[in-house]
C-alpha cells in the first residue's frame, strides 16, 4: 500500500554530511525541501575519525562556508581542539583541522536543520524513485509514503547494500550497525546505473580511563583561537589534547601471525579500498621495513570516554584487535569498547553524472557524497552543497552552477569524478589541484562569496562585510605599492635584525615585503597604516604581494585554458557522426559527454588529435548554422 504524503520542490535522501548541506542549500535558496533519513538520531554522524579539515579538506570546509554552507559553522561550535597545519610551509597549503566532539556536532547540526524554515526533516527509508519520462519526480519509502518533487538528491553514503566485515564475521549493515539500504541500490540498477563495490574501514575505539597517557606524547591544539567560518565570532578556548604513540615489532609480528584470519587477505573482502587509508595489516605487509607506525589517540567528545585510535584501521577479528592494541605503549591494559571493521558498499560510477551532479540517465536526479565514489566528510559536504544548490536552482527554473578547477577544490573534486571517474574511494589531495596557489584556505571568501550571494546563500549583511574587506585589501596593497622606503638607519637596523641585506637605495614598500625574511609586520613598523587593519586583511595583503609572481603565473595558466573552457560542446552531439576520432576516444567521449572542450581534453584516452578533430567538427557545425541562416 502506498499513500500520498506530500509535495516538495526538492527531496534529499540521507542526512549525512552530504545530505545536510544539500538540504540546507536547497531550502535556503528558496526551494521547499524535504529531507528523509533512515535514523533521525544519526544526522551528520561521524562513523569514522572525529575530525574535520586538514590539508585540501580544510580548504573545502572554507569553500563550503564561503558558499553559505554549514560545515564550517557547525565545527566551529563543536570542536574540542583546532590546529593550523603546515604553518611552516607556503600559504597555499596551510589548512585548518579540528577534532570534533562528534555528539555535539550531530546535535548542533540537527538543531540547525530543525530550525530551517523551508526545510522538513523526517525519518524513513527511501526504496524507490518515481521516474517518469526519464525525469525523477519523487520518492517512495519503505512504509509506502509517496513524496512528489521537482528534483531529488541521493546522499546515501555507505548505506547502499552495506556489509560490515569483522574478522570471520560478515553481515548486512550500514555504518555503525545502522540499517542498510538494499532496495534503493537494486532500484538504481534497474534504472540502468552502473554500480561499483568500494570498501573502507575504521579502527577500534577504546576507553580513555584504561589508557596510560604518561607513555604517550601530548598533541595540544593551537594557542591562537581559530575558526573555519568567516562568520564565526565566538571561539572555543577550552581545548582537549590528542595523544601520540607508536606500534612496534611486537605489534607487527602479531599482525603477521594472524594475517590468515584477515578478511583482506583471505579474499572475503572484494571491494576496492582506498590507498590513502590502508588498514594496519596493509601497512605492515606493504611497508614491512618500517619499524613502527604512528598511532594518534583522539577523544571522540567531551562527554564520553571513547577514544578513536587513529592509524589502526583494521578488519582483523575482534580478539586479534584486542591483542594488537595491548602491544602499544600506553595501551597495555586498554579496554576496547568497539572493534574496528571494514565496510563494503555500492557506489555509482561517477562518470554517469554531469558536472552539476545531476545524473545523465535520469533528469532532475542528483547524487552526492560517498555514493559518488568519494571518501571523507568534507568531500561529501562539498558535493552535497553543490548538488543541493543545483537541485534547488533547477526546481526554481534558475541556472545551475558549476565550479571550475580554478575556482575551488570542490571544482577539482567534481571535475575529477565526472571526467575521469575513480577506481578507489576518492580523496582530495592538494596535489590533485593544478592551481593550488590560487585555491588557498585564506582566500576562499574572495573566490566564492560573490557566487554564494548570487545564488542566494549569502546574507546581505555578510556580503557588505565582505566588500569592505575586499576594499581594505586593495587599498592597503595600493598604499604599499605607492610608498618608497628610504634607507634610513632605522630601516637598515630593522632589515639587519631580520638577517636581510641592507638597502642600497630607496625601495617600494611592496618590493621590500617580497623579500623572504620580511613580513607585513616589519613593513608596518617602518611605514605604518593610518588605522590598524584586521588580520585577515593584512594576511591577504602579505600573501598577494609576496607571491605575486607565482600567482600571476598560475593566473596566466588559467587564462590560457579559458578559451578551451569556453568552447562548449552541445549535449546532443553525436560522436558517431565525427569522422577521424580514435575509437577509444569516441567511446570515452560518449561515456563522459563533456560539456566543454577543456573537459574533453582531461579525459584519459582522448588525445590532442581527437581534440583537434572535435574542435573542427564543432566549428563546422557553427559555420554550417551561420550559412544556413
Amino acid at each position: 500500500m502506498t499513500y500520498e504524503a506530500g509535495s516538495y520542490d526538492v527531496i534529499v535522501v540521507g542526512a549525512g554530511h552530504a545530505g545536510v548541506e544539500a538540504g540546507l542549500a536547497s531550502a535556503r535558496l528558496g526551494a521547499k525541501t524535504l529531507m528523509i533519513t533512515i535514523n533521525l538520531d544519526m544526522v551528520a554522524f561521524m562513523p569514522c575519525n572525529p575530525s574535520v579539515g586538514g590539508p585540501a579538506k580544510g580548504i573545502v570546509v572554507r569553500e563550503i562556508d564561503a558558499l553559505g554552507g554549514e560545515m564550517g559553522k557547525n565545527i566551529d561550535k563543536t570542536h574540542i581542539q583546532m590546529r593550523m597545519l603546515n604553518t611552516g610551509k607556503g600559504p597555499a597549503v596551510r589548512a585548518l583541522r579540528a577534532q570534533a566532539d562528534k555528539f555535539t556536532y550531530q546535535h548542533e547540526m540537527k538543531k540547525t536543520l530543525e530550525n530551517e524554515p523551508n526545510l522538513t526533516l523526517i525519518q524513513g527509508m527511501v526504496e524507490r524513485l518515481i521516474v517518469e519520462d526519464g525525469e525523477c519526480r519523487g520518492v517512495v519509502t519503505q512504509t509506502g509514503a509517496v513524496y512528489h518533487s521537482k528534483a531529488v538528491v541521493i546522499t546515501t553514503g555507505t548505506f547502499l547494500r552495506g556489509e560490515i566485515i569483522l574478522g570471520e564475521l560478515k553481515y548486512s549493515s550500514g555504518p555503525n550497525n545502522q540499517q542498510p539500504s538494499i532496495k534503493l541500490s537494486e532500484h538504481l540498477q534497474e534504472l540502468g546505473f552502473d554500480l561499483v563495490r568500494f570498501k573502507t574501514g575504521t579502527p577500534p575505539r577504546v576507553n580513555s580511563h584504561s589508557i596510560d597517557y604518561s607513555k604517550t606524547e601530548i598533541q595540544p591544539g593551537d594557542d591562537v583561537p581559530r575558526a573555519f567560518s568567516y562568520e564565526t565570532t565566538k571561539y572555543i578556548t577550552d581545548q582537549l589534547p590528542c595523544w601520540l604513540t607508536y606500534t612496534n615489532e611486537e605489534t607487527h609480528t602479531l599482525i603477521d601471525n594472524n594475517l590468515h584470519r584477515s578478511p583482506m587477505y583471505s579474499g572475503m573482502i572484494k571491494g576496492t579500498g582506498p590507498r590513502y587509508c590502508p588498514s594496519i595489516e596493509d601497512k605492515v605487509v606493504r611497508f614491512n621495513d618500517k619499524p613502527r607506525h604512528q598511532i594518534f589517540l583522539e577523544p571522540e567528545g567531551r562527554n564520553t570516554q571513547e577514544v578513536y585510535v587513529q592509524g589502526l584501521s583494521t578488519s582483523l577479528p575482534e580478539d586479534v584487535q584486542q591483542k594488537i592494541l595491548r602491544t602499544i605503549p600506553g595501551l597495555e591494559n586498554v579496554q576496547m569498547m568497539r572493534a574496528g571493521y571494514a565496510i563494503e558498499y555500492d557506489s555509482i560510477v561517477p562518470t554517469q553524472l554531469w558536472p552539476t551532479l545531476e545524473t545523465k540517465k535520469v533528469k532532475n536526479l542528483y547524487t552526492a557524497g560517498q555514493i559518488n565514489g568519494t571518501s571523507g566528510y568534507e568531500e561529501a559536504a562539498g558535493q552535497g552543497l553543490m548538488a543541493g544548490m543545483n537541485a534547488g536552482l533547477k526546481s526554481l527554473d534558475k541556472e545551475e552552477v558549476i565550479l571550475s578547477r580554478s575556482d575551488a577544490y570542490i571544482g577539482v573534486l567534481i571535475d575529477d569524478l565526472v571526467t575521469k571517474g575513480t577506481n578507489e574511494p576518492y580523496r582530495l589531495l592538494t596535489s590533485r589541484a593544478e592551481y593550488r596557489l590560487l585555491l588557498r584556505h585564506d582566500n576562499a571568501d574572495l573566490r566564492l562569496t560573490e557566487l554564494g550571494r548570487k545564488v542566494g546563500l549569502i546574507s546581505e549583511e555578510r556580503y557588505e562585510k565582505f566588500l569592505l574587506k575586499k576594499q581594505a585589501i586593495e587599498e592597503e596593497k595600493a598604499r604599499l605599492q605607492g610608498i618608497i622606503i628610504k634607507p634610513s638607519s632605522d630601516v637598515q637596523e630593522m632589515i639587519k635584525s631580520q638577517g636581510g641585506s641592507e638597502l642600497k637605495d630607496g625601495i617600494r614598500a611592496s618590493d621590500l615585503l617580497k623579500r623572504p625574511e620580511m613580513t607585513y609586520e616589519h613593513i608596518q613598523q617602518v611605514v605604518p597604516a593610518e588605522s590598524t587593519l584586521d588580520e585577515d586583511v593584512t594576511e591577504q595583503v602579505e600573501i598577494q604581494i609576496k607571491y605575486e609572481g607565482y600567482i600571476e603565473k598560475s593566473l596566466q595558466q588559467v587564462e590560457r585554458l579559458k578559451k578551451m573552457e569556453n568552447k562548449k560542446i552541445p549535449e546532443n552531439i553525436d560522436y558517431d557522426d565525427i569522422n577521424g576520432l580514435a575509437s577509444e576516444a569516441r567511446q570515452k567521449l560518449k561515456e563522459v559527454r563533456p560539456l566543454s572542450l577543456a573537459q574533453a581534453s582531461r579525459i584519459s584516452g582522448v588525445n590532442p588529435a581527437d581534440i583537434s578533430i572535435l574542435l573542427v567538427y564543432l566549428e563546422q557545425g557553427r559555420i554550417a548554422r551561420v550559412s544556413a541562416e
Binding site: P91, P278, L429, S431
Partner: protein, 461 residues
C-alpha cells in the same frame, strides 16, 4: 593547447636564400617583440599592419644578436590564419632559422603541429566548408605519423633517459606532497631547501647533458661548422685539400644563395665537418688580418670547431698571438704544420698558448700527422658520454624546445630555492619541469604522482 600562439619554419627544410619562421596567434606580436630589436627601438605592436621591418633577433637571456632579419607584421583577420601573424625572414641555412625558432619557443610560442596553420585557417573560417573533411584527415594522418615517430623514439635511449629523470622528479614531488598532505607523519623526513637544491641541480645537469647531445644531433644533421685560420702561407689550403682528398669531399655549390658561400662537407671518422668560408681560405686571405681581432671573434663564434694552423719553420708572430686571442674559449685544434722543414717556432710558447686546446704537429706535404689530426677531431666530438656506436641524441625541434623549457623551469625552481620561497611553491616549477619532460615522451598523466605517493610512503588513518 588549442589556442596558443604557434610557430614553425614555413619554408622547406634545406638550404635556400631565405627561410621564414611563422608565428600565429593572440600573442604573436608580444612574443616577437620580446626578441625583435628594430631600428630606433621600433616595436612591432606599434607598426602598421602588413608592413615589413628590418632588425635583429636577440636572445633575451644573453642579450646577444642571434640573427639579422626582416619581419612582416600582419594583424588579423586579414592573414592566412585570420589571427595575428608574424613572419620572420632569416638568412638561409638551417642553423640560423632553427635558432630563431628555438628562441620563439623559449619565449612563449608553441611548436605548431603538422597542418596546424591550415587548421586554424579553417577554424577561423578562412577555408571553405567543403574542405573540412580534408582538414580532419590531414590532422589525423599527420598526428598519427608524428605519434609513430614519438613512439619510435620512446623505444630509444632518449626515452629511457627521460623516464629515469622524470622518476627522479616524481619522487621529489611525492615527497613534497606527502609533507603537505600528511603533515603529522613523522615517518617522512621533511624536504628541505637544501635537499631540494641538490636534487634540482642533478636534474638540471641531466637536462643540460641532453641538450648537449642535441648539439651533437644537430651537428650530425648539419655538419660541424669548421673554420681554418692562420697567417698566410702556413698551409691552410694544404690542410683543406688534405681533409678533402682523404675523405671524399662533397663539394656543394649552392646556387641562388645571397652569400655565394662554398661549403665543403667532409666526413672525418664519422664526424661530418662543414668547412665554412673556404672560398676565403683558397684566396689565402687572412680573416684576422683582414678584419681585426674583435670583429673576427664575432665571425669565428659561429663556428663549432676552429683549426688553427701555425708554421713550424717560422717564428711565432704577433699575428699568431692575435689569432690565439681571437679563439679563446672555443673548441680549437692547433696544427703546427711544415715539420718537414727546419724548426724556428718556439714550441714551448706554442704549448703554453695551446694549453686549453688540442695540439698536433703535421707535415701536410709529406702526409705526416693527418691521422693524429683526424683522431683529435673525432675525440673532440665524441668526448663525454656519447659513444660513436650508439647515437641516441635529441635532434627533433620539438624535443629541443621542450628541453629548453624544462631547463628554464628547473632554473626557476632553483632560483626559488635560493630566494627561500616555500617548497610547496617552488614545486610549481618542479612540476612544470616534470610535465615538460613528459611531453617529450608523450606522457603527462597527473595520476602517476598520486600513485607514486602511495607506493613510496606509508600513509593512512
Amino acid at each position: 593547447m588549442e589556442f596558443d600562439t604557434i610557430a614553425a619554419i614555413s619554408t622547406p627544410m634545406g638550404e635556400g636564400a631565405i627561410a621564414i619562421v611563422r608565428l600565429s596567434g593572440d600573442q604573436a606580436f608580444e612574443i616577437a617583440d620580446r626578441l625583435f630589436r628594430g631600428v630606433g627601438g621600433k616595436r612591432l605592436k606599434d607598426v602598421a599592419s602588413h608592413t615589413i621591418h628590418y632588425g635583429h633577433i636577440m636572445d633575451p637571456k644573453t642579450g646577444q644578436i642571434a640573427e639579422e632579419v626582416m619581419v612582416s607584421a600582419m594583424k588579423g583577420p586579414k592573414t592566412f590564419t585570420k589571427e595575428d601573424v608574424i613572419e620572420i625572414n632569416c638568412h638561409g641555412g638551417l642553423v640560423s632559422v632553427n635558432r630563431v625558432l628555438q628562441l620563439l619557443l623559449n619565449n612563449g610560442a608553441r611548436l605548431a603541429e603538422p597542418g596546424e596553420f591550415t587548421k586554424r585557417a579553417f577554424l577561423n573560417g578562412r577555408i571553405d566548408l567543403s574542405q573540412a573533411e580534408a582538414v580532419m584527415d590531414l590532422i589525423r594522418a599527420k598526428t598519427d605519423r608524428a605519434m609513430n615517430m614519438a613512439l619510435g623514439q620512446m623505444e630509444g635511449r632518449l626515452s629511457k633517459l627521460i623516464q629515469k629523470l622524470r622518476q627522479e622528479i616524481l619522487e621529489i614531488l611525492a615527497h613534497v606532497e606527502v609533507n603537505i598532505d600528511y603533515p603529522e607523519y613523522d615517518d617522512v623526513e621533511e624536504m628541505t631547501h637544501h635537499m631540494l637544491m641538490e636534487k634540482a641541480s642533478y636534474v638540471k645537469k641531466e637536462i643540460e647533458k641532453l641538450l648537449q647531445t642535441s648539439q651533437q644531433g644537430k651537428i650530425l644533421r648539419e655538419g660541424l661548422s669548421t673554420v681554418i685560420v692562420g697567417r698566410p702561407n702556413v698551409g691552410k689550403s694544404s690542410l683543406l685539400n688534405s681533409l678533402v682528398h682523404e675523405n671524399k669531399a662533397i663539394v656543394t655549390d649552392i646556387p641562388g644563395t645571397t652569400r655565394d658561400v662554398i661549403e665543403e662537407y667532409v666526413n672525418v671518422r664519422g664526424v661530418p665537418l662543414r668547412l665554412v668560408d673556404t672560398a676565403g681560405i683558397r684566396e689565402t686571405e687572412d680573416i684576422v688580418e683582414r678584419i681585426g681581432v674583435e670583429k673576427s671573434r664575432q665571425v669565428l663564434k659561429e663556428a663549432d670547431l676552429i683549426l688553427l694552423v701555425l708554421n713550424y719553420s717560422d717564428e711565432l708572430t704577433s699575428e699568431d698571438e692575435n689569432i690565439f686571442k681571437a679563439v679563446e674559449g672555443m673548441d680549437v685544434i692547433v696544427i703546427v704544420n711544415k715539420t718537414d722543414l727546419d724548426q724556428k717556432i718556439d714550441m714551448s710558447r706554442v704549448r703554453e698558448l695551446s694549453k686549453h686546446h688540442k695540439l698536433v704537429t703535421t707535415s701536410l706535404l709529406e702526409d705526416q700527422g693527418v691521422d693524429d689530426l683526424e683522431e683529435a677531431i673525432a675525440s673532440l666530438f665524441f668526448a663525454g658520454s656519447i659513444e660513436a656506436g650508439d647515437m641516441t641524441y635529441v635532434s627533433n625541434t620539438r624535443h629541443i624546445a621542450l628541453l629548453n623549457q624544462a631547463q628554464n623551469a628547473i632554473d626557476e625552481a632553483m632560483q626559488g630555492v635560493e630566494m627561500g620561497t616555500p617548497i610547496d611553491i617552488v614545486q610549481i616549477d618542479l612540476t612544470r619541469t616534470w610535465e615538460l619532460l613528459g611531453e617529450i615522451i608523450g606522457d603527462s598523466v597527473h595520476e602517476s604522482l598520486i600513485d607514486q605517493l602511495f607506493s613510496q610512503f606509508c600513509l593512512g588513518k
